[in-house]
Amino acid sequence: MYTVADLRKGLKITIDGDPYIVTFFEFSKPGKGQALYRTKMRNMINGTSLDRTYRSGETFEPAHLEERTMQYLYKEDTNYCFMDNQSSEQISISEDAIGDAKNFLIDNLEVDVLMFQEKPIGVTTPNFVNLRVVKTDPWIKGDTTGSDSKPATVETGYVLRVPPFIEEGELITIDTRTGEYSTRVKG
C-alpha cells in the first residue's frame, strides 16, 4: 500500500483495476489550506491519461508489473507470437499492446514483455536492432542537388529516412527509441 507521501514520477499504481504510471507530480498547498498532491497519470494498457488530485491520508494499491524476456516467433493475423525464454510457454500479444515495437520485430529477436496480472501490456525491444533494407531508390553518385536522406523500407515493412548511400539488401542499425537510422552494418 502506498500513501500520498510515496507519490513521485514513475510510480506505478492500480486505479479501478488498471495499472497507471505517474507522469507528473506536484506537491501543492494553497496559503493556509490543506496539502494537495496533484498528479497526471498514464494508463499503461490503453495509454489514456488521467489527472487526479489527492489529499493527505489517501492510499494506493501498487501495480504489480513483471518484465519477462521473450523471443519473437511469428505474426498471426494481427497478433504476434512470443516464447517465454524461461518457461518456453508461448503467448500471443495484440498489435495494440505491441505499439511501435512491431516496426522492429524480426524472427528470434529477444524483447522484454511487461506483464500485468499475467497479461502482456507492452513490449520493449533492444535499443538498437539490425534490419535489412528491402526497398530504396538507388544512389546516383555525384548528385549534389538531392537531399541528404531518402526513404527506405526495411524487412518489417517499416519506412524511415536513411543516407543516400544506403542500397537495397544492406543491413542497417536503427535506434528503436527514436525509430531513426543509426549506422550502416558493413560486411
Binding site: 507521501a5 506536484e26 506537491f27 501543492s28 498547498k29 494553497p30 496559503g31 493556509k32 489550506g33 490543506q34 496539502a35 494537495l36 496533484r38 488530485t53 493527505s56
Partner: protein
C-alpha cells in the same frame, strides 16, 4: 565536489540571493522598520488546521515567527520585520521545503492595504537589486511590475476561473482543490495580483471586513501564478481569537493530528496589541521569481535530501 551538486548555477543563485536579501533589509530600514530576531524554538505553536510543526525536545520549531512578533507589537514596537528560517513538517515540492526562509513584517495602526503598498515597493526594490527594473521573466512570460497591481476578491476569482461560486466550493469541500488547480495558475500574469477578501473561515487570525462579516481582511500575493505572501489585518480581540483557536484545535483533533495547548501568553497580550497588519512572505520564492528558477532547490544552499 562539483560532481555531487545538482545545480551548476547554484553559486550564481546564492550570489543573487544575497543581493536580494540585502535589498529587502535596506527597503525596510528606509521605511522605518526595526529588524528583530525572535526565538525559533517555542513552547507551543499557533493552532492551525493545516500547518504541522516539527518537535524540538518538548517544544517546537516555529512554523512562522508570528506569535513572538505580535507580542512585540503588543509591547509597543510599531514597525518590525524579520528574516528567519521556519519549519513545516511534510511540506516538500518544487515550491516547498520543510525548512525555508520567511520574511515577516508588521505595521501597527495600519490595515492590510498598507501591506499591499509595501509589497509593491519591496518586490520592485528586490528586482532592481538583480538588474530587473520593471518586469520579471517567469515561465516563459514577462510580468510587468510597475503601475498599481491588480486587486481581485476571492469571490470574483471563483466566478472568473473557478467554474463555481465560492459558496458552492465551500459547501462541496472543494475550496482548496479549485484554488490550486483552476485559480492560482491564472493569477498575476498581466501584473501581480492581490487575491483578497477570503471567506471568514479561511482567515483564522484575520479581522473580518467591517461592511461584510462573511469575509476576512486577508490577501495573498500572486505573481505569474506563484503564491508569494499571505497577509491579514490582524484580529486583536482575545476572546474571538481564543474561540477560533479552539475551532482549529477541533479540526486537528478530528483529523488525528497532534494538538498543542493554546499559546496563552500570546492570547493574554493580544488585548494590548494596537490595530495592526502583518504579512508572511516567502523569501525563497521571491528569489525563485527574480531568478526565473523553476524549483526552490535551485535557490537554497542545500536541500534536505543533500544533507
Amino acid at each position: 565536489m562539483n560532481g555531487i551538486r545538482r545545480f551548476p548555477n547554484r553559486h550564481n543563485s546564492l550570489r543573487a540571493r544575497a543581493k536580494i536579501v540585502h535589498a529587502v533589509r535596506s527597503f525596510f530600514e528606509k521605511s522605518g522598520f526595526l529588524e528583530v530576531d525572535t526565538p525559533q524554538r517555542i513552547p507551543v505553536p499557533i493552532p492551525e488546521s493545516h500547518i504541522d510543526v516539527m518537535p524540538s525536545g518538548s517544544w517546537v520549531l516555529h512554523p512562522s515567527p508570528e506569535i513572538c512578533m505580535k507580542r512585540l507589537l503588543a509591547d509597543g514596537l510599531e514597525r518590525i520585520f524579520q528574516i528567519c528560517h521556519c519549519w513545516r513538517d511534510g511540506e516538500r515540492g518544487s515550491l516547498h521545503l520543510p525548512e525555508f526562509t520567511m520574511l515577516e513584517w508588521y505595521r501597527a495602526h495600519a490595515d492590510y492595504f498598507a501591506l499591499m503598498d509595501d509589497c509593491e515597493g519591496l518586490v520592485r526594490a528586490a528586482a532592481a537589486a538583480v538588474g530587473k527594473k520593471y518586469e520579471v521573466d517567469w515561465n516563459g512570460r514577462v510580468v510587468g511590475l510597475d503601475g498599481p497591481w491588480e486587486r481581485c476578491t476571492v469571490r470574483d476569482a471563483f466566478s472568473r476561473f473557478g467554474g463555481m461560486t465560492v459558496e458552492e466550493a465551500l459547501e462541496q469541500d472543494l475550496f482548496d482543490e479549485i484554488m490550486v488547480c483552476s485559480i492560482e495558475p491564472m493569477l498575476g500574469w498581466e501584473r501581480p495580483t492581490f487575491l483578497m477578501e477570503y471567506p471568514a473561515q479561511r482567515g483564522s487570525l484575520a479581522r473580518l471586513k467591517a461592511g461584510d462579516r462573511c469575509v476576512a481582511e486577508r490577501f495573498e500575493l500572486y505573481i505569474g501564478g506563484l503564491e508569494l505572501a499571505n497577509a491579514y489585518s490582524e484580529l486583536i480581540d482575545p476572546e474571538e481569537q481564543r474561540y477560533r483557536f479552539i475551532q482549529e484545535q477541533g479540526f486537528r483533533r478530528n483529523s488525528s493530528k497532534p494538538v498543542y495547548p493554546l499559546p496563552e501568553k500570546f492570547l493574554q497580550e493580544l488585548s494590548g496589541m494596537p490595530p495592526s497588519a502583518g504579512i508572511a512572505f516567502g523569501m525563497d520564492r521571491l528569489v525563485m521569481l527574480l531568478l526565473g528558477a523553476s524549483s526552490i532547490d535551485e535557490v537554497v544552499a542545500f536541500t534536505p535530501e543533500e544533507l
